[in-house]
């Protein structure tokens, strides 16, 4: 039997591409998950190699600066794009670079991240994991020569998969990708990120077992009045978030003001400070989840938590600002757990009502600080839910999150990741700009555009058209739109001597129209097909006229937007 070679139709091509993309998403989920697991393991191996079982004071003091000299050189000479967390760089890759991440980025991030965190810097592994995962996804997309749109789409997919494995929280990872990387909770990439996240977490669990990151007892609201205490925790959390973010930005800006040539030794300067800090408070070394776990279990005294809080704030600020490779995701949780534990202890002493364990406050504090610093409140809620698998703590958590988030946002509108980028002279599209992209016909239309009745003479209609300067005239009433007459048609009929004729004779039905909820791309497409005046009609009754989109109305809206900015 002869098989004819028939070219694929666009629909078949689209279907085929979707199938390939789905398979690719799974493979990327697996690879990104593996990279995150390997990254975590490598940090453990490096830390054990650098410090041994019981580190001497000389090791505590000298390992961080010595290793940072090496990483400083690597970061300066070979991998300048992998300093810090990696999440801002991933956002830049997604929003500004079309999803293109060079292969050196995931490799460099892995190497320098392991060295920095493994040598005791007070930083987190999740941010780097996200950058590594996104980088792997992007590199594979480029290698497969996918379309630019698809390569871009793979970035949040890889990021979500890596975070899912790093934290063992697949839902929170998806939320994070949508909330932070894409910046749109309604993103069409939801399906891909979910698939990759699930594939990743399956891989992670099959290697490391289904161990939650923290072992937390079941906590719940002991007394309704405790919500007030949790609200207080939210306020304290907001203030601490603000202080931490500002301190971090200030010290980073200070380091950046130093001569460019000093960048090679800046990580080592930070390393020396960390070495001194470790001599007194070794608990702030690296990610520090052991201490967080202890606080979450109510196993820490308020005084100890206060010391660890101060040390972590100082340590992370120095490690990050001096240009080492590591994130602030884990430090945010650490700081939050300590703040929560301290507030919980105070509430326990002072409250006239029964209160929960300090571990419950540590847990809520962890979420509140995450919402305040990282500015991903939904991720925070889902993350805590996935960690505890107990929804009774969600109400206090949401109260505290909301307050911490609101306070932090009010006093520092720019999120810390975006502020880092602004220090590097990179401006990501703001939320307002993204909202502008999502404008609908309702936002763009002119609701006051006059209509003429079908019995109006051509001459009167022409006069009105001249006054408005529009390219077409709308015929009918607001409740009964009859149709549209283009300026050319009207002019031709008028020149043919029909000035006294009714315009109703010329009118053609408004087949090309938009509805108020149509997005701007649909509106523009249909405006191009129209006579220059696109009627916007109700979905419930297509004859009901709600306004019209014209080039002028779009420009007016655009001008209003730029004036507001």
């Amino acid at each position: 039997m002869t098989r004819l070679k028939v070219p694929l139709t666009p629909q078949q091509l689209r279907l085929r591409e979707n199938q390939i993309f789905l398979a690719l998403t799974i493979v990327i989920g697996v690879l990104a998950g593996l990279s995150a697991v390997l990254f975590t393991l490598a940090i453990g191996v490096a830390s054990r190699a650098f410090f041994g079982l019981q580190p001497s004071w000389t090791r505590l003091l000298l390992v961080p600066p010595a290793v940072s000299l090496v990483t400083g050189f690597l970061l300066y000479r070979y991998f300048p794009g992998v300093r810090g967390s990696g999440i801002p760089q991933t956002e830049v890759a997604f929003h500004l670079d079309g999803g293109v991440i060079p292969p050196s980025v995931p490799f460099g991030k892995f190497l320098t991240g392991v060295l920095c965190i493994g040598s005791g810097h007070s930083m987190g592994r999740e941010g780097p994991s996200v950058q590594i995962g996104a980088g792997i996804a992007s590199v594979i997309g480029q290698w497969l020569r996918l379309s630019p749109e698809r390569v871009k789409e793979l970035v949040p997919v890889g990021a979500a998969a890596a975070l899912s494995a790093a934290f063992n929280t697949p839902v929170a990872a998806v939320m994070f990708a949508l909330e932070e990387i894409i910046g749109d909770m309604n993103a069409t990439l939801l399906g891909s990120t979910v698939v990759a996240s699930v594939a990743s977490v399956i891989v992670e669990r099959s290697i490391l077992g289904n161990e939650p990151l923290f072992h937390v007892p079941v906590y719940h609201l002991v007394h309704p009045a405790e919500l007030v205490a949790y609200a207080a925790l939210g306020i304290v959390g907001g203030v601490v978030s603000l202080g931490f973010s500002r301190g971090l930005l200030w010290l980073r800006a200070t380091f950046r003001r130093l001569p460019a040539s000093s960048q090679v030794v800046q990580p080592a300067i930070g390393g020396l400070a960390i070495g001194v800090l470790l001599l007194f408070v070794p608990e702030v070394m690296g990610v520090g989840y052991d201490s967080v776990d202890q606080a979450l279990n109510g196993g820490m005294l308020a005084g100890t938590m206060a010391v660890l809080l101060g040390a972590k704030l100082v340590g992370t600020t120095i490690s990050y600002a001096s240009g080492n490779a590591g994130g602030i995701f884990a430090p945010s949780l650490y700081i939050g757990a300590m703040v929560g534990g301290i507030v919980g202890t105070a509430v326990h002493w002072l409250a006239p009502f029964p209160t929960g364990d300090t571990g419950a406050y540590a847990l809520v504090g962890m979420g509140a600080l995450f919402a305040g610093i990282i500015r991903a409140p939904m991720t925070s809620v889902f993350m805590i839910f996935e960690i505890t698998q107990d929804y009774q703590i969600l109400v206090p958590l949401m109260v505290a999150n909301l307050l911490a988030f609101s306070i932090a946002r009010h006093y520092q509108p720019t999120p810390v990741y975006h502020a880092f980028l602004q220090q590097d002279d990179i401006h990501l599209p703001s939320a307002e700009a993204k909202a502008g992209i999502a404008r609908t016909a309702r936002d763009l239309m002119d609701a006051d555009l006059p209509t003429v009745s079908a019995t109006t003479t051509l001459e009167d209609a022409w006069m009105q058209l001249e006054r408005s300067g529009a390219r077409a005239v709308l015929v009918g009433t607001p409740d009964e739109l009859v149709g549209v007459v283009a300026r050319d048609e009207l002019e031709a009929a008028r020149e043919a001597g029909g000035q006294d004729g009714a315009i109703g004779l010329l009118v053609s039905p408004a087949d090309v129209h938009a509805h108020p909820d149509h997005p701007i791309d649909v509106v523009l497409e249909r405006l191009a097909e129209s006579h220059g005046v696109l009627p916007v009609v109700s979905r419930a009754n297509v004859r009901r006229f709600e306004g019209a989109v014209t080039a002028d109305s779009i420009l007016r809206v655009a001008r209003r937007g730029s004036a507001a900015q």
Binding site: V6, I20, V27, L38, V45, L53, Q54, P217, G298, G299
Partner: protein, 376 residues
């Protein structure tokens, strides 16, 4: 009809690349799993090392250092129940009782039927004087899943619970536990003796006597069993039986010696004892009345405020003294009953006003009165 074909080059390239990626993923998976396994082994070995350090520090009394070391151990080997239990012990030793409790409760979430975790929690609660929680955890431990060969340990745990309950005057609950204990006893003299002692402490001399009797069947000369049986018989009001047991014991401690003396006096001072001659009965009654009069007078001196209740009894005793003679006793046998009752009331009133009698004779007279009054 020929099927529409798709571009074979495109298919080949996509499939080949995806297969290549899947292969890379598989190799990466195997590699990562191997690294994870090695890291896990290192963690376990580090944990064992930290545990050894922590245990040594705990034994040397450095509880704070032990806590830190044991935390390292249990965070590296979270599944190791023994590490966590020792950590809890170190925390408790370091005065961090609440933290120890939290650690144990978290462990109990994972292994709810593990008796060792419940035992540790019970002991923490007992140290905090929280008897209710302690009893709950002791019960959880007792009804947990015990590995074979630990039966004796389980019995000792129940004894520990009983002693705690007795210490906190929870005699009812203690008695229930002793009953449960007695059903699983080893059939040895020491085991029955201990059970008897616990029954005695819980206020059940009947069952106590059963246990002591069994112990004496197994070991007739067991001094502890003899003393216990004597006490149990005494508490049941069987003073003759008590005397028999006490007399067989080679040595009696101070309290038991007193009990023995009181039992002997009860038997030798009772005017209503059977088979007495009239003279002997009269003599005993006169001695009892005389002793009780002296007791009242002594009490009136120390507690004059009690005169209103004691003086009428004193006067009544004086009247009785004058009316006792052989003839009266022969003509009115009920006079002895009246005398014994009056003596009891006088002793009781003195005890209420001036405290329980210390003198063995007074104690014996009270018991004689109680013996013939029957249950209140």
């Amino acid at each position: 009809m020929p099927l529409p074909d798709i571009n074979p080059r495109l298919v080949q390239r996509e499939v080949v690349l995806l297969v290549a990626l899947a292969l890379v993923a598989s190799v990466a998976f195997v590699f990562t799993r191997e690294v994870a396994k090695r890291q896990h082994d290192t963690n376990l070995s580090d944990a064992a090392e930290w545990f050894a350090i922590g245990e040594r520090q705990l034994d040397e009394g450095h509880a704070a250092a032990a806590v830190a070391s044991l935390r390292h151990a249990s965070s590296r080997s979270r599944d190791n129940r023994h590490y966590t239990l020792t950590l809890a012990r170190a925390l408790a030793a370091n005065g961090q009782v609440e933290e120890a409790r939290t650690v144990l409760l978290a462990l109990r979430e994972i292994v709810p039927d593990d008796p060792d975790v419940s035992i540790a929690l019970a002991r923490l609660a007992a140290a905090r004087q929280d008897v209710t929680e302690a009893q709950r955890f002791y019960q959880n431990a007792l009804y947990g899943i015990w590995t074979p060969g630990r039966e004796d340990e389980r019995l000792r745990l129940r004894v520990e619970l009983i002693r705690l309950l007795l210490q906190h005057e929870e005699r009812g609950r203690a008695l229930s536990e002793v009953v449960a204990l007695s059903t699983n006893l080893a059939d040895t003299a020491p085991a029955h003796t201990e059970a008897g002692q616990l029954f005695l402490a819980a206020g059940d001399p009947e069952r106590a006597l059963d246990q002591f009797s069994r112990a004496l069947e197994l070991s007739p000369e067991d001094d502890d069993a003899l003393a216990g049986a004597g006490e149990a018989a005494f508490l049941r009001g069987d003073y003759a039986g008590a005397q028999r047991y006490f007399s067989r014991a080679s040595a009696l401690s101070g309290r038991l010696g007193e009990l023995s003396a009181v039992a002997r006096l009860v038997l030798t001072q009772d005017p209503l004892a059977p088979r007495l001659t009239l003279a002997a009965r009269r003599s005993r009654l006169e001695a009892a009345v005389s002793r009780s009069t002296a007791r009242l007078e002594q009490c009136l001196v120390t507690r004059p405020a009690a005169a209103s209740s004691l003086e009428p009894l004193h006067a009544e005793l004086a009247r009785l003294t004058t009316s006792i003679d052989n003839r009266a006793l022969r003509d009115q046998p009920e006079l002895v009953d009246h005398g014994v009752d009056l003596v009891y009331r006088a002793q009781r009133a003195a005890a209420d006003a001036c405290g329980e009698p210390r003198d063995t004779e007074d104690r014996a007279l009270l018991l004689v009165g109680e013996r013939h009054r029957g249950p209140a």
